[in-house]
Amino acid sequence: MLAPWTTLLGYSPALLNGLWLTASMSVLAFAFAFALGVAGALGRRSRIAPLRWAGATYVETIRNTPVLLQLFMIYFALPEFGIRLGAFEAGAAALAINAGAYLTEIIRAGLQAVPRGQLEAARSIGLGPGDTFRSVVFPQALRYVYPPVVSQFIQVILGSSLVSQIALKEITNAAQTINSQTLLTMHVFAIALVLYLLLSNVTAVLADVVGRNAFKPPLVPRRKGGAPSMRDQLLAMVRGG
């Protein structure tokens, strides 16, 4: 009964290494994705038409083709142009470019939601366009977009499993390797599943804590009756409620 688990205990270094690769690649990819998202949103709202077209083309091509294909293009096709990336770099780049397209639309909607009067008021007290964006418009947009941005980050974590297909030894790839070596299929994939569930739920809880403390006034998730979600229960546990 316990034998499979003790066997798998011997593989914990590979799994922990996989966990580290998944987490670090996701964080790196998300940082670049967010920067791409801000740039893309500014491009789509720009007064310069070619920038708007570039933004729209980026969003539409990326959102209407599979991430796996984007990953394969970067990893297998770019070397034809002399750009040779390692699996980690290619994975992070593909995830960043993909999530960046979704974040472009999210951030664009957030910027659009900031009342025009805010911008006009900031300009009329003498702030330049850069300062207006940095200290008036963007912080307010961030409030609106925080929840969808967090779920996009979780999508990046889950999507990073695809990088297993270009042989990066992250969680999914480690699980596949261990499966082929031990044939303990159910146990191995159950562990992989739990690792991802841990990553996504811990991220969600941390993001909630940050959301409630980093913003003034604090962000309070909207709830419309019904049973509290598991995330809320976890949060209550974390805060000792």
Binding site: E60, R63, T65, P66, F76, L162, F189, A190, L193
Partner: protein, 216 residues
Amino acid sequence: MGWQGIFESSGILFTGLVNTLLLSVASIATGTTLGLIVALLRTARIRGLGLPLRLYLEIFRGSPLLVQMLFIYFGAAYLGIRGVDTFMAALTALTLYEGALISEIFRAGIEAVPRGQREAARSLGLSRYQIERYVILPQTVPIVLAPLVGQYIGLVKDTALATAIGYFELVREGQAIIDRIGMPIETFIVIAGIYFMICYPMSLAARRLETRALHA
């Protein structure tokens, strides 16, 4: 650039396209059915079903589709369940994963219908089935249509993951072509173009449905 080689491989690409469409259409049908059933069961607040259904949602939305697919494909072989080929494993994984996401779309739609509608229908003496079928669900249609189409776009793209378990859809056929004739850039561009031609019209439809829902 040798586009000629790709043109000569169009038969292989066509097989891949057919397999991608087959898996997409089948998963849309099963995923939507499962999503609707789960949403109805959840909104009906049936005792004892709440926790298992929420567990189902948390697990399938909180883990990668790829892991679910590998789990189902290799797990079925491990358990000795016969008849689970690459298509069946991919279909099962897509159904369970997309079903979880689609159920949340339906649930939001059902909860958006004013309570009074349900109460009025009940006071008219309609049965539970009649209430859902003739009063509630028709009113959710304009609300759920746009996000549903959006979800289907994601589903079509997600079928590409079936390449990992060896299902011969577009991406895998593309790799087969590259193995034979090289030219990864041209091949991947053609495949990306095929996906785009399927998904972009769906995106436009979703956008149109969304603006229509806003003005309704």
